[in-house]
Symmetry: C2
Amino acid sequence: MKETTLKQIAETLGISITTVSKALKDYPDVSAKTKNKVLELAQSLQYTPNSFAVNLRTKESRTIGLIIPEVVHHFFSNVINGIIAEAEKNGYLVIILQSNESIELERKQVGLLLNKRVDGIIMSLSNESNDDKHIKEIIKREIPFVMFDKISKLINCSKVIINDQKAAFHAVEHLINKGCKKIAHIRGPVNPQNAIDRFLGYKKALEKYNIPYDSKLVYTCKNVTFDEGKDFASKIMNEHPDVDGIFVITDLVAVGVLAYFNEHNIKVPNQIKVIGFSNWFMSQVITPKLSTVDQPSYEMGVASFHLLLEEMNHKKEFLDYAPRTIELDTNIIERESTLN
Amino acid sequence: MKETTLKQIAETLGISITTVSKALKDYPDVSAKTKNKVLELAQSLQYTPNSFAVNLRTKESRTIGLIIPEVVHHFFSNVINGIIAEAEKNGYLVIILQSNESIELERKQVGLLLNKRVDGIIMSLSNESNDDKHIKEIIKREIPFVMFDKISKLINCSKVIINDQKAAFHAVEHLINKGCKKIAHIRGPVNPQNAIDRFLGYKKALEKYNIPYDSKLVYTCKNVTFDEGKDFASKIMNEHPDVDGIFVITDLVAVGVLAYFNEHNIKVPNQIKVIGFSNWFMSQVITPKLSTVDQPSYEMGVASFHLLLEEMNHKKEFLDYAPRTIELDTNIIERESTLN
DNA sequence: TTGTAGGCGTTATCAG
DNA sequence: CTGATAACGCCTACAA
């Protein structure tokens, strides 16, 4: 089936392409009669503008790019959800790319999106990211750009975040309020800002309650997996059997911790309490149900797109735009794993 | 920053656009000297072809569309993973759209992708889908098209599936082998082919082992959620307390069933055995660990893209293409919920 | 070996 | 109210 074009409509109707174009776009300076004729024929021929031509002409594709570390991930898939829902409402489509937590791939993905000339890019950094060149390239090319969750403080762009430090502080405070005296922390990898901030929140909470900080009680994830949770739980029990509380970087790992405790008949929350982060679905399903920090993932997606849209609209009007940062609220969800 | 174009390079070098274009595409009929000059300048100017222009010229966008019911879903997010990985390897980007299990949205998404003129579409039907017009439109426009998992038997297109009936048969047979005498089935919604097939597999297994089929033992999900699992578990225990095995349409729902049993101190697998479908991650994390049917989700994604690529390549060469169906293997994963 | 010219389909300006 | 004309940036016969 051949696609219908303005030219075809113009020819069959014996009028000019210009007029057809105007009629279809409801310009005021086309007679009602012509307009009707055109609209009718266009309808019956199922005319839709060739988006390739429109893109070329208007220099925009109404498509944005999204780079995230992983799609198969409770938090990120919820963010995706928020972004594509909001994008669609505003007439944008979303190309999704994964970095698989690798900086090399991340660089490649940025390149692909720049070549594709998407109208804007939303991104959450990979854990490996410790270099900014590819990000700077986005900024340099003046592509509207928003970072969320795993951001870089060194980049001047719009951001959607939570206050990781505060949230972590409250999580650890929650453990302390529940009676924990010796609290370990399974932290995220070295680079990501949010792993750093959550660690700082942990430290601050100890400080406030006069619990001595002991770096030996801090365990650092490499891959942030279920299995790492199990391994660290085992290590903690061996090296510091008197630990009575653990704050874990994310629920997936915390669930690994609980799995280990279940298998080794270590009683949660009686002997040891555990709190996670992010409120993954599985946390309310396992035994004992995991206390955690709720992170508004869908909302982060929505907010990210809004900031991007704002910036894209400014760019279209050749207006300056000052990056904005949106900080969303979190709150502690108390479940069985931290009961008194 | 202004984008560099062929024209600019041509002008600064004092040669024609054509020559620049040819030099960059390594045509044989350009002198080595010119070629080098061009390549060098292009490099230093970071020239990348304007994809909008290329799209228009070549009539392809190297972008495909993917429509799935839900992104936040263990099975589908794994499929996405497979598709975008494979697409990227082959120089394609992927636009992802969700139907949210609504046929109306699904229709809209198809429309968006057709307007966008993607080179091909991969899709899994929503549970509501009982009408084909929008799908037929894709076929009519001769857009390469592949369906996976939730397919329609009425559409003549490439498909990637598992043998749901056989897989379900084996799941129920597994329960029977483990000693179950009265087996209930929590099935999926009415429309999707895979819900129908799994139900038929359930029936066949009963038949083979001379267990009378009782339609009262079949419960039909509407939304296929965790909560429905809990509700149906409760119903089953009330209405048929002697049921000793349940085959559940998917792990998420099965986990709901287990949650109910845990809360009401009903012993799994001693009093009643449960088997799910799809091997969601959480199934190996809960207590008791859920037996299930492993479904090769990532591989389904990869295979779907391959079929699509095959069809897109045929189309480019104006060759006829006969749709193919790939059926992937499944296998039973035995865990605690069906132990003897 | 290089360049000219036409076209992909749309939009925008400007003249009639 | 309508239409001719020129872009947008690239590709590719074909001509020189």
